[in-house]
């Protein structure tokens, strides 16, 4: 029963890891809106306000038009998944540092802290899908049956991407605290380099190739296709998964290399 274990390399059982993730996600979910009166409405309010602002500024004032869709609906399809990514990545720099007392004292797989943070943001995103559905119906479109397999398929791809990026940022930030500021700017830049407020088709041909280098561009395009057309483009989904696995690999490598000293530096 008491097997020899070398300190510092925990290999806990899968059922224990499951419990750990569950308990931490429950905590995140309970804590987030515990002291706020509007509660869940905040998960929806943030992307809706941005949708309204861009609808007015770009849709009405700049007269931006998307062939085939009302501009606010197009914004919603990209804005809600983006909200998940930006919340998780924005919180990533502090994910280990805010748990310093835990990391210094208790031996447990620390990447679980990042996984549960990203997972609770994922659940908040999934809880906003009824609002997306209402918006689709409001503009006279129809939700599709493809959503049923499509939403989990894309959510998994997005989880791999966001978890990988968040793990990398959280790990490096323990050593290099400036990354917190850099991440905030990086998110601003990434938002405008991703086809969220404009469609991929409107990008001039000479820049198209650059947009494909953006690891989250295929992901957002896939969500837009799913919510607006009820379609899943195989090559776009494949690209989203390829980028997701690449992010996961980079995050895992950095975490493995940097985590042994976390307890000394957080």
């Amino acid at each position: 029963m008491s097997a020899l274990s070398t300190a510092g390399s925990p290999h806990p059982s899968a059922s224990y890891l499951g419990d750990l993730i569950l308990v931490l996600v429950q905590k995140e979910m309970k804590v987030r809106y515990k002291n706020s009166w509007l509660g869940y409405a905040w998960s929806v309010a943030n992307p809706l306000v941005f949708t309204a602002v861009y609808s007015v500024a770009l849709g009405i004032f700049l007269r931006l038009q998307i062939p085939g869709y009302p501009y606010p609906l197009f914004l919603i399809a990209g804005q809600f998944p983006w909200q998940w990514l930006s919340t998780s990545v924005g919180a990533a720099p502090m994910m280990f540092i805010n748990n310093a007392s835990l990391i210094k004292k208790v031996r447990f797989p620390r990447n679980i802290l990042v996984a549960s943070g990203v997972l609770s943001d994922a659940i908040h995103f999934l809880l906003t899908i009824p609002v997306i559905t209402l918006a689709v119906l409001w503009y006279g479109f129809r939700p599709s049956w493809i959503w049923l397999p499509g939403v989990p398929l894309l959510a998994v791809a997005q989880f791999l991407t966001v978890y990988g990026v968040a793990l990398a940022i959280a790990s490096v930030n323990v050593y290099f605290r400036d990354l917190e500021r850099i991440t905030a700017i990086f998110l601003q830049v990434l938002f405008f380099l991703t086809p969220i407020v404009y469609p991929v088709a409107s990008i001039p041909p000479q820049y198209q190739v650059w947009i494909q280098l953006n690891p989250i561009a295929p992901l957002i395009s896939a969500w837009q296709g799913l919510f607006l057309d009820g379609s899943l483009n195989g090559s776009v989904v494949l690209a989203a998964y390829a980028y997701g696995l690449a992010c996961l690999a980079i995050g895992s490598i950095l975490y493995r290399a940097l985590s042994p000293r976390f307890a000394e530096l957080v």
Binding site: K27, K30, V106, A263, E264
Partner: protein
């Protein structure tokens, strides 16, 4: 059988945090900085070897900065040794920090589950021991109130109650017995004695030499990263007390009215990992 084995373990920390001097300073003095960071390391533990038998209660004493907390961190598995090996047999319960991961917006009930799982229990194990934990804490009446309404003594009681029911093979205790009121302290000591009798290995970091003599099998005196003395608690306590008295005498013999006295050249005690 050994529960804990440290074999020529050394651990050093850089004195300077990485890149905390600002960009300009860093760039201007880069080669110098790298050289300094390499050389200027604080040796928290120096080639320490130690074996603790299963079922033994060991006390670690020593001044601040002697390496006590580093040693507990190594046994808990949160710190990796620079050189040497650390082998642990069985589940370690770190009583290093009571209530690790408590969230003050959650209720006492929610925090018991959260803390117990973070300390290594599965949810099934928590469910089985939940009533015992609550009964031990004596906090039934406020169990569904948020933790921020608790007094600090109550929070500590909840933390100890969870830790005391972890059913570990090895308990690491870092000077926590100054927790709660007198009757709860008695309860803590009784629980630790009970765990000790049931064959658990206990490592206790303490400044309370009396407690050490009373219920430890062995004592280790750490000083400046090495084991200065190891033996029966009574013997080690006697030697340690004499050393403390000698230091006390030296302080007393300095004339405090002499204003020209050179400032103390003693290095400030390092507080890393404490």
């Amino acid at each position: 059988m050994n529960a804990i084995r440290l074999d020529h373990v050394s651990k050093a920390y850089p004195r300077h945090q990485y890149l905390t001097h600002g960009l300009k300073q860093t760039l201007l003095h880069l080669p110098d900085l790298v050289r300094r960071m390499r050389a200027d390391r604080f040796l928290a533990l120096n080639e320490v070897s130690l074996e603790v038998e299963q079922g033994e209660a060991v006390a670690i004493v020593g001044p601040n900065g002697a390496g006590k907390s580093t040693m507990l961190g190594l046994i808990a598995g949160v710190i990796r040794p620079e050189t040497g090996t650390v082998e642990i047999r069985g589940r370690v319960a770190p009583l290093l920090e009571l209530g690790a991961g408590f969230h003050f917006d959650l209720t006492g009930r929610e925090n018991i589950v959260l803390n117990a799982v973070l300390m290594g229990m599965t949810r099934r194990e928590v469910a089985r021991r939940f009533d015992a934990i609550v009964a031990f804490s004596g906090l039934e009446a406020v169990l569904d109130e948020p933790l921020r309404t608790y007094s600090s003594g109550m929070v500590a009681r909840l933390g100890f109650s969870v830790a005391a029911h972890l059913d570990p093979d090895i308990l690491l205790i870092d000077e926590i017995l100054a927790v709660g009121d007198a009757s709860f302290q008695q309860k803590c000591l009784a629980r630790i004695a009970e765990l000790q009798q049931s064959g658990k290995t206990i490592v206790l970091v303490t400044h309370d030499l009396h407690a050490m003599e009373q219920w430890c099998d062995e004592a280790i005196w750490l000083n400046a990263g090495t084991i200065r003395q190891r033996g029966l608690p009574v013997t080690v306590a006697k030697a340690y007390r004499e050393e403390l008295l000698r230091e006390g005498d030296m302080v007393k013999h300095k004339d405090p009215s002499d204003e020209r006295a050179a400032p103390s050249t003693q290095p400030a005690p390092s507080s890393r990992m404490e």
